[in-house]
């Protein structure tokens, strides 16, 4: 189970403080401790911390009495869960078919190269996480880039450069 350990030792990662009252609220109050709602609980926890902290997952395992291995299985099976902390900004490039045909692959490559991170990874300074998403359903304005829920329609290399320039300046 070494995989659940926080994999960000090399990058400076502040210990995440877990608010157990909040976890209780999510697990017990919102979902009644119902194991069937485990995925929804994990989503709710991830919304709070932007990833699934090890301590929170362990607590969830104890409360709903589901083995940690099962939770790990779920967390690694579904693409939306992350066991690693996310950067300050999450930049998702849509790689759905329409976006792909209009060059989203090249955009992912461009960001990867410039920021020095593979898709799914976060920069060492914890500023940016690069992600790809299979389709956000905004095919008419392809290619689409989403930064923290804001859509950038008809994005191109220049849009991305602008964004990354601003990031560098921060």
């Amino acid at each position: 189970m070494s995989g659940t350990a926080c994999q960000c030792q090399e990058i400076e990662c502040a210990e995440v403080e877990i608010d157990y009252t909040l976890l209780d609220k999510i697990i017990r109050d919102d979902y009644g401790g119902n194991r069937e709602a485990m995925i929804m609980m994990m989503q709710a926890i991830q919304r709070v911390y932007r990833f699934l902290p090890e301590a929170a997952v362990k607590y969830l395992s104890q409360v709903i009495e589901v083995p940690l291995t099962k939770i790990y299985e779920v967390a690694t099976f579904y693409a939306s869960f992350s066991l690693e902390p996310k950067g300050k900004y999450i930049l998702s490039v849509c790689t759905g078919t329409a976006c792909h045909l209009r060059g989203s692959g090249g955009m992912v490559e461009h960001i990867s190269k410039r920021m020095g991170i593979a898709p799914g990874k976060t920069t060492a300074d914890m500023k940016l996480t690069l992600e790809t998403v299979n389709c956000v359903g905004a095919c008419a304005v392809a290619p689409v880039v989403v930064v923290d829920e804001k859509y950038y329609p008809k994005a191109d290399i220049a849009t991305l450069n602008d964004f990354m320039d601003r990031l560098d300046a921060e």
């Binding site: 069937e36 995925i39 099962k70 099976f77 693409a79 759905g96 060059g103 389709c135 008419a140 290399i157």
Partner: protein, 632 residues
């Protein structure tokens, strides 16, 4: 978009306690409507929102409230679900004139209010002009994109405010539910649905009536589940329905529950659709508050509660048994279906699973009858189907057409044809598990229906329709879909897990210029093996993109492998750009567009590309007005 908390269902409205009460309530609402009242309808589907429609709504509200109306009726701003004409968004329709404005920005809002609303003056620059035409089409209903469609499922979308249930009720929502609860037995409902010959709109096309009948025959607790895990890249029909007309889907589920004898419903929605989840949550709450869902619906003693569950980003969860495992909080791995889920599904109980669009068809079938529904479409594929038309076509968006329509009519009649003076190479249907139909060159045309698409090596799928022009490399498309499926395969059965990885390996090699003789035969062998021996629906169709491109575009495979050329100019190691001296006018546009300054040349003289600097980004090729940049 309006927050769920702002919902205007007034608290003083009491629960509807009888089916007749619904009718009275609707008449009451209807009598308050003034058909001549000014109305500003703003499309707030994801496409328009991405283009800024929420800001347009806010600005309209701000500007309208800042005017003294002196007794005149203040126009109502109505944010609606996706109108479907996404490539022209944000869209604004002004009623009662039915005036259509496209690509409206925040800066246009004051003009629209001052000129159009207050002085009846039309703003020409916002009006719709079809491609290659100078004539504007002022009214929404005259635009060919809409006029050529048959909108049954989408009839309310773009008309109702999805956050306001009364708006749906006044247009007839829940009247079909009232009809089945008072005047039909469960068996009669199933017979009516079977008579309509409706087939599952999720992709497999299983007869809906038959599925309901098998579920109804079972003993014990039964569940009604809606598959809203729309994972096909390039498809957004279900999202638009959920965001634009949630009550038709909920009503369809309730009717199904009555027919199969269930009182628990689940809606499995893709988490990547936050707006759909929000709209649905509010819709369920409003319907329960009015007594149209929940306990003792309309005082008839029938209970039906719907719960929303969100997916977590796994394409495989669109498969029925994987979806049900995911609903139980487990990983979504399909199981062999010796026993079907109508017998043993969610929580090992009989479960009826249908897709969003299937349920949305139900209320109209009940209201108008199965014979009416059958009058649309063909003998074997009845009714209409919603497609998400995307790719290299002028009019991108949602189209609803009768089954059996010609594919060329969809691409040219409704879609407006291929932009940038390119020619049509094929249409990909059915998502990652579908195939490319090589119209018009290798197959002149095809009538869109379950059977005809299968004959052409593709599938109906959930309704993704991606138009591809001459600049699309079919090997690269096959590689893209296989790569997608490698990522999304659950990995439990060997043919799918290993077959896909090997196919990707070979396709990667071919697109990088390292293809060798025998690769196509090997792909064909692995592909057939994967399709024949995988466990679930994803695996048994996983090789379709490879097999269908081999069948229709073998010449392209040969060009890549033998000649080391990518004729479409997509696979970078296999082509380069050159400027044709005879046609180059020396306008200099390519030189300005080139991001790496690889193009040189004096004004009005032939330009030249420095191959050592060129990154093959397509900018020169895409922008040249004289098509002088050639793929070599």
């Amino acid at each position: 978009m309006i927050e769920a908390t702002q919902v205007a269902t007034s608290p003083e409205v009491n629960k509807i306690t009888s089916p007749a009460g619904l009718d009275i309530f609707r008449k009451e609402l209807d009598s308050k409507l003034d058909p001549n009242a000014p109305l500003l309808i703003v499309c707030c589907g994801t496409g328009c929102q991405a283009a800024g429609s929420s800001e347009v709504v806010d600005k309209f509200r701000e500007v309208l409230s800042g005017i003294g109306w002196g007794g005149k009726v203040i126009p109502l701003v109505k944010p609606t679900g996706c109108h479907g004409f996404c490539s022209r968004g944000p869209l604004v329709i002004i009623e009662p004139q039915d005036l259509f404005y496209q690509r409206v920005t925040v800066d246009d809002v004051e003009d629209i209010v001052n000129k159009t609303i207050l002085n009846n003056e039309v703003i020409r620059k916002l009006q719709y002009k079809p491609a290659n035409s100078k004539e504007v089409i002022p009214r929404a209903s005259d635009i060919p994109y809409y006029a050529k469609q048959t909108r049954l499922v989408l009839k309310n979308i773009g008309k109702v405010d999805p956050t306001e249930i009364n708006d749906s009720i006044v247009r007839g929502s829940y009247s079909a539910l009232a009809k089945v609860l008072t005047r039909m037995s469960p068996d009669q409902v199933i017979d009516e649905v079977a008579n309509s010959k409706l087939r599952g709109r999720g992709g497999a096309g299983f007869p809906t009536g038959l599925k309901w009948e098998s579920c109804a025959k079972q003993e014990g607790t039964r569940y009604v589940i809606c598959n809203a895990d729309e994972g096909d890249p390039g498809a957004f029909m279900d999202r638009s329905l959920l965001e634009g007309d949630p009550h038709s889907v909920l009503e369809g589920m309730a009717i199904c529950a009555y027919a199969v004898g269930s009182n628990r419903g689940y809606m499995y929605v893709r988490a990547e659709y936050p707006l759909a989840v929000k709209t649905l949550t509010a819709a369920i709450r409003q319907a329960e508050a009015l007594g149209l869902l929940g306990d003792n619906i309309m005082g008839t003693g029938f209970d039906f509660k719907v719960t929303i569950s969100t997916g977590a980003g796994a394409f495989i969860c669109g498969e029925s048994s994987a979806l049900m495992a995911s609903l139980e909080g487990k990983v979504g791995r399909p199981r062999p279906k010796y026993i079907r889920s109508v017998e043993k599904g969610f929580r090992d109980c009989p479960s009826n699973l249908n897709n969003v669009e299937t349920y949305a068809n139900i209320p109209d079938i009940i209201t108008n009858g199965g014979d009416w529904y059958k009058s649309f479409g063909t003998e074997r594929s009845s009714g209409t189907k919603v497609f998400a038309l995307t790719g290299n076509v002028y009019n991108i968006g949602l189209v609803e057409v009768p089954m059996g329509i010609s594919l060329m009519e969809i691409v040219y009649g409704i879609g407006g044809g291929i932009p940038n003076k390119r020619s049509l190479k094929g249409v990909q249907t059915g998502g990652p598990s579908g195939g490319c139909i090589p119209i018009p060159h290798k197959i002149p045309d095809i009538n869109v229906g379950y059977g005809k698409l299968a004959e052409a090596g593709s599938i109906m799928g959930s309704g993704g329709m991606i138009v591809m022009d001459e600049d699309t490399c079919m090997i690269e498309v096959a590689r893209y879909f296989v790569n997608f499926l490698v990522e999304e395969s659950c990995g439990q059965c060997t043919p799918c897990r290993e077959g896909l990885i090997r196919m990707r390996e070979i396709l990667n090699r071919i697109t990088q210029g390292d293809g060798k003789e025998g690769d196509v035969e090997l792909l064909d062998e692995i592909g057939n093996f994967t399709n024949n021996f995988s466990l679930c629906g994803l695996g048994t169709s996983a090789a379709n993109p490879v097999l269908s491109t081999i069948r229709f575009f073998r010449d392209e495979y040969d060009a890549h492998i033998r000649d080391k050329k990518c004729p479409a100019g997509v696979c970078k190691p296999l082509f380069h750009y050159d400027i044709e001296a005879e046609t180059c006018t020396g306008c200099g546009l390519c030189k300005t567009k080139c991001p790496v300054k690889a193009i040189t040349g004096e004004k009005k003289k032939t330009h030249v590309i420095d191959q050592s600097l060129c990154i093959k980004c397509m900018e020169c090729y895409k922008n040249c007005k004289f098509r002088s940049v050639k793929i070599m």
